[in-house]
């Protein structure tokens, strides 16, 4: 029994939507539903884990706008059918993993039948950001429940507080204008990898599994040095750690890594999904592909 990722859709920003996380999210969500052969009406829960967005908007949740734009039960409530609940979560590169855990809870309790996780980031542009270091990228994951022996098995977390020293992003007045700025330390990859390893160890320990019982490792972010560090600390060849193709993807990178990794193994195989992000917070999840 578990939450199954039924379909993953990915998108890169083009010239039309490179400054709109909302448009990227909507496009990816529609694509995901279309490819899964599902109707927007089916979505009970929509969780958006993207962070960098149009106008650096703080309210409402971007998820509500995505819900409206994809047409997932946006109308006034009426009797004898279901609506959609939408909200945002923020947890840096780990956001999709947090969203997956939230979705898993509601699917497990049968509060919902179908959930859509969306994650997109884009440079808000128009003087609202400075040296934006991330790609315009989006991802959507359609999740439902299975009674078979597959899906999300376990998610574990670790924190190693560095008060944002490795990576932080803030919006504040600079020369009289509100600007989104980033700070990245030289040691980010080593620190992220160290936190990720602790999450992996805990996840494997709690599952009574060894690393050689895992079929594939999917990791985020896709930063090359982080991947090298992770491989060295896990004692596996670098090419065994699958990351997103786009090394500057942010919240979408977990979904992109998962999608690539899942396509490389047989049905019933086990994916170890590991993510590290600002905080430092790191999560590791075990996921078994459906047969």
């Amino acid at each position: 029994m578990g939450t199954v990722i039924d379909r993953v859709a990915l998108a890169r920003g083009g010239w039309r939507n490179r400054h709109s996380a909302l448009q990227l999210a909507v496009r990816t969500a529609k694509d995901c539903l279309h490819r899964a052969g599902r109707d927007p009406h089916d979505v009970d829960l929509l969780v958006n884990a993207g962070i960098y967005r149009d106008r650096n908007i703080a309210e409402p949740a971007l998820a509500a706008m995505i819900q409206q734009d994809i047409g997932a039960n946006p109308e006034d409530p009426h009797a004898d059918t279901h609506g959609t609940f939408s909200f945002d979560i923020c947890n840096g590169t780990c956001g999709v993993l947090s969203a997956l855990q939230i979705v898993d809870g509601f699917l497990r309790s049968h509060a919902i039948d179908c959930a859509l996780i969306v994650a997109s980031d884009a440079d808000p542009g128009r003087g609202m950001s400075e040296h934006f270091p991330l790609s315009a990228a989006g991802a959507a994951l359609l999740c439902d429940w299975t009674d078979d022996d597959c899906g999300v098995e376990r998610i574990c977390w670790t924190n190693a507080s560095d008060e944002g020293e490795s990576f932080n992003a803030t919006v504040g007045l600079v020369d009289g204008h509100n600007v989104l700025r980033f700070a990245v330390s030289d040691t980010i990859d080593e620190r992220f990898a160290a936190a990720a390893i602790r999450a992996v160890d805990e996840c494997l320990r709690q599952s009574s599994l060894r690393l050689d019982e895992i079929d594939v490792i999917a990791a985020a972010p896709a930063r090359p040095r982080y991947r090298t560090e992770l491989a060295a600390r896990l004692g596996v060849p670098e090419e065994q750690i699958i990351v997103a193709e786009d090394e500057s993807a942010h919240t979408a990178s977990v979904a992109a890594a998962f999608d690539r990794a899942a396509s490389r193994i047989r049905p019933g195989g086990r994916v170890l999904l590991v993510a590290a992000g600002a905080g430092i917070t790191a999560g590791a999840a075990l996921y078994r592909l459906p047969h």
Partner: protein, 369 residues
């Protein structure tokens, strides 16, 4: 199988049994010391507005952080410590910290998008083993966090969750004061805002004990663009643009059906609700809304809706907890009584959390059965 209720909600007890129940172990808040009256705020408007805001909203004053001496982070941290103190719990065993504020100001008016505010708060209070992430859902943030926490606790995934929020949001009111010309202004709602921190500690309890009976939520997304807040131009923090009438109209027409769903799911009538705490935007709007609800149901909750907006203004995602603590301190809520927390927020988010408080909690505020 098509679901036949509009709200996303866990099956009620008896329908599909969950191994545990969620108990409210503590509720804490922190209010800045500085009082800002509506008269004082309106005297700072750049234009002669001819608006009697106090008559319009019932807000006499709100608490504000002066010159950034307190920010979202410090308000949240102080509230979390107050909550733990009330619950007589330490931070170390907390499994999850969820920060739910709209504002994430730390170090003055600098909004932190990463790391999460929850990781800062968890570190500050010593919840070093806690999983952390932020929920962002406008003024429904805290009740959204409660809904997620309740789902996990009921199923045994985690034992103890701290839902926290610090809203240093009064700067939006100061910004609005520079732009508002008349009563039709889209920034009028910004003048109702006040600062506050709030925290709720939720923990595992056995079935049959008091606690959260049901938590249900929906997003009526056709109204998602009726209230937008974002940093704009050269003003600190952000500005907020609201179609307050549109939101009020949509909320009023949709809430009765959703409340009916909740009551039906748990098998009680509206008269079985002892206290109603709605989102605090305006005393007039709350009274009008409750009158409409009473007309729709032909009955009413046992007590009038709780109003704290007159003293604290609209403190965004913290309003329900600020009001709940007020009522507990005043001894208005007795053990075993049912409280309905109703979220109405930009999105349009509508959520209802039904909970009963136990004797242990009530005693913490100096009262007992």
């Amino acid at each position: 199988m098509t679901r036949r209720h509009w709200l996303v909600m866990d099956p009620a007890d008896g329908e599909r049994s969950a191994p545990f129940r969620t108990r409210l172990a503590g509720a804490g808040r922190h209010l800045p010391a500085t009082h800002l009256t509506t008269t004082e705020l309106m005297s700072t408007t750049r234009h002669r507005t001819h608006i009697d805001l106090e008559r319009l909203t019932g807000i006499h004053e709100r608490r504000v952080s002066m010159g950034g001496d307190e920010d979202s982070y410090s308000l949240a941290t102080s509230a979390a410590l107050d909550c733990l103190g009330k619950a007589e719990r330490t931070a170390a065993p907390i499994d999850v910290v969820i920060s739910c504020s709209i504002t994430k100001f730390r170090g003055g008016l600098t909004q932190w998008l990463e790391p999460s505010m929850s990781s800062f708060v968890a570190h500050a209070i010593g919840a070093t083993n806690a999983m952390t992430f932020d929920v962002s859902n406008a003024c429904a943030g805290m009740l959204t966090g409660v809904t997620v926490a309740n789902n996990w606790i009921r199923q045994g995934t985690v034992e103890r969750v701290l839902v926290v929020s610090g809203e240093y949001i009064s700067q939006l009111g100061q910004n609005a004061a520079r732009h508002i010309r008349n009563i039709m202004s889209k920034e009028l709602a910004s003048l109702t805002l006040g600062d506050a921190g709030a925290a709720l500690l939720l923990e595992r309890a056995m079935p049959g004990s008091g606690g959260i009976t049901l938590a249900g939520f929906t997003t009526v997304a056709d109204y998602s663009r009726l209230c937008l807040a974002y940093p704009k131009g050269d003003e600190p923090a952000a500005r907020m643009f609201t179609d307050a009438r549109g939101i009020h109209r949509a909320a009023m027409s949709n809430t009765p059906l959703l409340l009916h769903e909740v009551l039906e799911a748990v098998g009680i009538s509206i008269h079985d609700i002892d206290h109603v705490i709605t989102h605090q935007t305006s005393a007039r709007a709350i009274r009008k809304g409750m009158a409409k609800m009473a007309a729709a149901f032909g009955d009413a909750p046992r007590h009038d809706a709780v109003i704290t907006v007159d003293r604290y203004g609209n403190t965004a995602s913290t309003t329900h907890t600020v009001a709940l603590v007020e009522e507990l301190k005043a001894g208005h809520i007795r053990p075993g009584e049912t409280v309905a927390l109703i979220a109405l927020a930009s999105g349009l988010e509508i959520g209802i959390v039904l909970l009963t408080v136990d004797n242990e909690l009530v005693e913490r505020y100096g009262h007992s059965d």
